[in-house]
């Protein structure tokens, strides 16, 4: 038996000291060391910490009568020690002995001790070895299992990250192509108005710069929309001291920011060329209001210039008005342009679905 190859120390607990010698003889071929003690404190101490492979406990006291009222548990403690072979003339009720049912308990009739004790001991030692190996394997299995779970989780996490990255890259490509199409549109409009190339170049550069400002705002807004106030301020940064901007805090959807920024750019360019920004005393006011008349709901943006206007100030026809008109989209609400004495106003309507609700 494999267990017999390991050095084997056996603890014998027997009140009858005369029997200690015969145990030694019986176990001589099996055990490396046999320690025989009577019941009591010595036995308890050796059982718990003596490093024995097996304890053999003889229950029958002197004169052959079992020791009444003294359980094996009393002698051996809580059963945390090595397996136990109970030796007795009569088969005891093993449950009544008070030993925890560890399965590490064997009974041997006293008359068969010499023949069977050695093999019983080997069995118990092997059983204990197997139990320990099983327990070790369970621990290893549990460790392996948690490692597998950890790796599975990590793989799923990686997959999620890479899918999110793929989606972001796809979104970026889509945005870039859209932006190129927008630049194409601006260039197309700028180059086909029958302008001389140097003039067209200056106008194109101005529009692309405005597009760049809008793009910056859209990018930093991170999909939450951009405040109308911020768009107006960004576009009119050079002339802010002459501008009054007022209206409720509203955010425009990113698709509208570029168009609105360009519309403001066109109005401002026009104002520099022909309007209030062409003279030192001119002022600009930009106001926006939500209108709701029953089913008719829209955002109105009013651009007004006062002071310094040339009497024959032309409104920003062409690209500027086309842009502003495009906001009306299908509803076809063209911007309303009015002239007064030394005053120019352009009112444009933006559909409410361009406003970002609950940006947080």
């Amino acid at each position: 038996m494999p267990g017999a190859e390991a050095p084997l120390d056996v603890l014998v607990v027997d009140d009858v000291a005369e029997r200690h010698g015969s145990y030694r003889d019986v176990l001589a071929g099996v055990a490396r060391r046999v320690v025989a003690v009577g019941r009591g404190a010595d036995a308890r101490q050796l059982y718990g910490g003596g490093g024995f492979a097996v304890a053999v406990v003889h229950l029958d006291g002197a004169g052959g009568a079992p020791l009444a009222g003294r359980s094996v548990a009393e002698t051996l403690g809580d059963g945390a020690g090595p397996p136990v072979v109970i030796v007795s003339e009569q088969m005891p009720d093993l449950g009544a002995l008070g030993m925890p049912s560890t399965g590490m308990l064997e009974y041997l009739p006293a008359s068969f001790v010499p023949q069977l004790l050695a093999s019983r001991i080997s069995c118990l030692v092997e059983l204990k070895r197997l139990k320990r190996a099983l327990a070790d394997r369970d621990v290893q299995l549990a460790g392996l299992q948690s490692e597998v779970e950890r790796i599975t989780d990590a793989a799923a996490d990686e997959r999620r990250k890479s899918e999110a990255l793929k989606a972001r890259v796809g979104e970026q490509i889509h945005r870039s192509k859209n932006l190129l199409a927008i630049m194409q549109s601006i260039a197309h409009r700028t180059m086909t108005d029958g302008r001389e190339i140097p003039e067209a170049r200056d106008i194109l550069m101005g529009r692309l710069r405005a597009l760049g400002r809008a793009h910056h705002l859209v990018t930093t807004a991170n999909g939450k929309g951009t405040e109308i106030h911020d768009i107006v301020e960004a576009e009119l940064a050079d002339v802010l001291h002459r501008v009054t901007a007022s209206g409720p805090r509203l955010r425009l959807a990113s698709s509208a920011v570029q168009t609105f920024m360009l519309a403001v750019h066109e109005l401002a360019t026009n104002a520099i060329k022909h309007g209030a920004l062409g003279t030192p005393e001119g002022k600009i006011s930009v106001g926006w209001t939500l209108f709701e008349y029953g089913a008719d709901r829209y955002l109105e943006v009013a651009w007004s210039e006062r002071g310094g206007l040339l009497p024959d100030t032309p409104p920003p026809y062409g690209f500027g008005l086309a842009l502003v008109s495009s906001f009306g989209g299908a509803s076809g609400a063209a911007p309303n342009v009015t002239f007064g004495p030394d005053e120019f106003t352009c009112r444009m309507r933006l559909p409410l679905d361009l406003i970002v609700v609950n940006p947080e």
Binding site: G170, I173, H174, R175, S176, K177, N178, L180, A181, I182, M183, Q184, S185, I186, H188, R189, T192, A253, S255, A256, Q258, T259, L262, A322, L323, S326, F327, G329, A330, S331, P351, D353, L354
Partner: protein, 119 residues
């Protein structure tokens, strides 16, 4: 002259398509910048053909495409994504990629409005 619905949430891109349509002798319906606007126009206006931007803000244009399909109105998609990113139901549809090749757009419009021109 055919009536062509233009759907794009970028006003500038819609404007360019309108310009091209006008240049080729057609009339723009819209442009619509949202799914809702587009569906309203499909339901209420005579449309001979349509060019649809695939992405409309947080939405897409596939409900519009279905509505057009039910009415037998020819349409094409304009997209910054590749044709391979289209859902199966529309993968066989004509797509034109952004930024536009004007010559491709012109031929596309010719093809789309051909049935209307013959009727």
């Amino acid at each position: 002259m055919a009536r062509v619905l233009v759907v794009d949430d970028e006003a500038l891109i819609a404007m360019m398509l309108s310009d091209l349509l006008a240049e080729y002798g057609h009339e723009t319906v819209g442009p619509a910048h949202s799914e809702g606007q587009a569906l309203e126009l499909v339901a209420s206006t005579r449309i001979d053909a349509a060019i649809l931007d695939v992405t409309l803000g947080d939405h897409d244009c596939f409900a519009v495409a279905e509505a057009l399909g039910q009415r037998g109105i020819p349409f094409a998609f304009a997209t910054g994504h590749g044709a391979q990113s289209m859902p199966d139901a529309f993968r066989a549809c004509v797509t034109v990629s952004k930024p536009f090749d004007f010559e491709v757009v012109r031929r596309l419009i010719d093809e789309l409005v051909a049935p209307a021109a013959h009727s």
